[in-house]
Symmetry: C2
Subunit: 494 residues, 2 copies
């Protein structure tokens, strides 16, 4: 849980309370999920604040997701909000911060066979202490505070966001948790989720100037080879980026792979992807690793102009490790199930004209669509797309074949003024086979760009006016060829 000293818990508290109160109230179905800026194929709660993904698991044929509210999905496309608040049993002095959840199949903790156990940071409002606690549930919907909490306490105000998982080879529970200001990830093991033993620290490393939080640790095959697996550790960095490390984990400590770059590797190169977590598979039937992140940054999340439930999560991403010239890297792709939402398809194939033109053949009437565009890069040029064009505003997605930079300028995209919002995202994106492919998802107030088949991903917020639905193409020189497929996407809510 990212927390801005004293400010955020209060806001969180108020918003969570608002969510709780609204749970039993009659929903206004005329306007719900039709509010300005409300994403149409991303999960956002009916009302109230949503924070970091917490307790992500696949169990009994369903994806379970908590932000200590709960949502479920069977297909990662449609979502059912189960409760706005799952936590019970403690007093007003305690806030539940980010964490994870497991199924205790063998009743190691004594809460019952197959109990849901959530592990999270217990924030004491008076002392500001952050310690780790657990709660248990028999239905996954109501969690009871464990009376022996906290289960792990360093008397620190900067110790948070545990990910707990079962490590099969050593037959132990593992907890990965951040010492934020020290830029360390601490590793603990436990036989019963209640008593924890410190085993090692990792860090500082990579991007270590600012606070570390929200660690996740999971295993992925390299190049699809399940005999060749590596562990990936994802660490969120104060407050708007995630870095990842690739290495090995033996149940007690994490070691970087040989030749790991000293420069940070970022999960997402946009401006608003944070605190992602992967699904733990308690059925053992998933054939891929999937993650979702919080689409926001603490720089402006509290003042974002959304009139609906405050905040949302990214579209689910399939994670892979692939070997490139420069080494093994994380690759992320939108889950294929999203394709079931496609309608009104269009295709455009042409050489780009010099200057700026409307995209022919695809004219969205709202910003709920998908573009899959491929541009040739063999001719020296600067080209790209303007999205959300209208009312004198736009989001500029620009690629330069000389510098190999993809630039996303959302400094002039919004019909509202938000402090610290006016920024650009940019990063080097290498062409593949003399092409740059931009797979773009636009959903009301968000843009997710999967470049180069998911090697480089850019997620960012935008707050266009309702009439800002135009799409333009531009190029500075002749000679760039483009192939583009486009679809409107159906709302999962209406």
């Amino acid at each position: 849980m990212k927390i801005q000293k004293m400010k955020i818990p209060a806001i969180l508290g108020a918003l969570l309370l608002a969510g709780t109160l609204s749970a039993g109230a009659q929903m206004n179905s005329d306007s719900l999920y039709k509010e300005p800026y409300r994403p149409q194929y991303h999960f956002s709660p009916e009302k109230g604040w949503i924070g970091d993904p917490s307790g992500f698991m696949y169990y009994q044929g369903k994806y379970h997701m908590y932000w200590w509210g709960k949502v479920e999905s069977t297909d990662l496309v449609h979502y059912q909000q189960i409760t706005p608040y799952a936590m019970t049993g403690t007093d007003d002095n305690i806030s539940y911060f980010t964490g994870s959840a497991v199924i205790d199949k063998n009743n190691t903790a004594g809460f019952g066979k197959g109990a849901y156990v959530a592990a999270y940071t217990v924030f004491e409002k008076d002392s500001k202490k952050q310690a780790q606690g657990i709660s248990f549930s028999h239905d996954g919907k109501t969690f009871h505070y464990y009376e022996g909490n906290p289960v792990l306490d360093l008397w620190s105000t900067e110790f948070r966001d545990p990910t707990v998982f079962w490590h099969e080879p050593t037959q132990k529970w593992v907890m990965v948790v951040a010492k934020a200001l020290e830029k360390k990830i601490k590793f603990y093991t436990s036989p019963d989720l209640k008593s924890w033993t410190w085993t090692s620290d990792f860090g500082p490393a990579g991007d270590s100037e600012k606070s570390w939080e929200c660690p996740d640790l999971f295993q992925l095959p390299v190049d699809g080879d399940s005999d060749k697996k590596r562990w990936v550790m994802v660490v969120s960095v104060n407050w708007a980026q995630e870095q990842y490390f690739i290495g090995d984990f033996d149940g007690t400590s994490f070691k970087l792979m040989e030749n790991h770059p000293a420069e940070p590797l970022y999960v997402d190169k946009g401006l608003d992807f944070y605190a992602s977590r992967t699904f733990q598979d308690f059925d053992g039937t998933l054939d891929s690793k999937i993650s979702m992140g919080w689409v926001a940054t603490w720089d402006y999340a509290p003042v974002a102009p959304s009139k609906y439930g405050k905040g949302f999560w990214s579209i689910p991403r399939n994670l892979e490790l692939k070997t490139y010239k420069e080494g093994v890297r994380l690759v992320q792709k939108p889950v294929e199930q999203l394709q079931t939402l496609r309608h009104k398809p269009a295709s455009v194939k042409r050489a780009l004209s010099v200057g700026t033109q409307r995209l022919p053949g695809f004219v969205p009437d709202e910003n709920v669509y998908e573009l899959d565009a491929s541009f040739s890069t063999d001719v020296s040029n600067t080209f790209g797309l303007n999205l959300c064009v209208g009312e004198g505003r736009k989001v500029v997605v620009s690629y330069d074949t000389d510098s190999h930079n993809l630039v996303i300028d959302r400094t002039h995209c919004s019909d509202v003024q938000i402090p610290k919002f006016s920024r650009m995202a940019y990063a080097r994106v290498e062409p593949v086979d003399n092409k740059i492919r931009l797979h773009i998802f636009v959903d009301k107030s968000s843009i997710e760009i999967f470049a180069n088949d998911g090697k480089d991903v850019f997620t960012l917020l935008t707050y266009p006016g309702e009439a800002q639905t135009g799409i333009e193409l531009f190029a500075q020189k002749k000679g760039t060829k483009m192939e583009l497929d486009a679809w409107m996407l159906k709302s999962i809510w209406r």
Copy 2:
């Protein structure tokens, strides 16, 4: 003095030593100041490292400048290096960090009437302590370490970069010095430069997440009215930006003006302007306030590929305060004396074509020139200049009339690879009278852009190949009119 924990003093020491050793050696006049990337109208030392401007004064008809080496100038265009190292009298355990210098006209310190007194940070290599010390000189060229040093000691490892000046109304010396990690500027006063009394603290304020250092404090008229003066405090922020505050100073404490923005005000919006200092006028004959900064950042200064003296200073800037719609702001203009270097003038007046074209009529044979370009902004467009074009590389200077963003992309400008170098600078630059004016100085490895008559300044390094001297114009749409004057600038060294 910016310092990266243990690393930099060692490098500094080695380079300063190199400078010292080379002082008496025969210069190779065939190659000196003709080295690759060596600026031709900026000051850089013959050999060795140059750091923050320190001890900047106007005295006896000359501009005196120290980096604890010394350079003098009579016109702020031509420079004479007096010595590569002015400091004497202490042992190897002491490094001289950034500071200032004054003329003690009334012999308050007892070193003699009219003695030069330098005040700087004494860095103890063994203890890492940073305290303030003084040295005195009778010729301004050789400074003697004061045996009573340090004169101000908080037993801190993060206390540095004093600016000392005489405050006429209170008849006291004032020292302004940074407590870096606390993001505070501390104020002290003294009758004799030796005993110092704490009077107040300022900060944290503005940009206060990272270390503060190199404070400067000076008075400027507002809108040219010398009856309406304000004080400006400039503070460098870890390690690549300077912010400034506008307010009042009574000899003991600095107070922000009413309605001072909470958001930081940055002196320079480029990537490489730091630690600037203004000239103190001991003759009382200057009619303007002038500053220079260090063109570098600690992110890559130690590994910059300059084959000449390591580093250089910006072109001198005239400082003003002006009232805008949003309030009083700092304005910086290149000193007019630089115009004496102009030759081979060219003028271009035309509507920009759609696409990318060579700039007609001005074809520099080396990157030592000045452009003064004005573009109309009444038509929606994205346009700009590519500088240092060649060998498939360029520096892109781009303006968008919708977002009002000026973007300088130097991610693909260099013929060398430098870690952390590949970045963009961008900031909002409001048009004036439906025009955007870009006054651009290119000098081998630097670009300084004074936008909007000096309201927004962008300084950045670039390391183009020798053949990268092209200039291009580009526009995405029709309708932008441009007027451009261009000059080659004479070298001050050859």
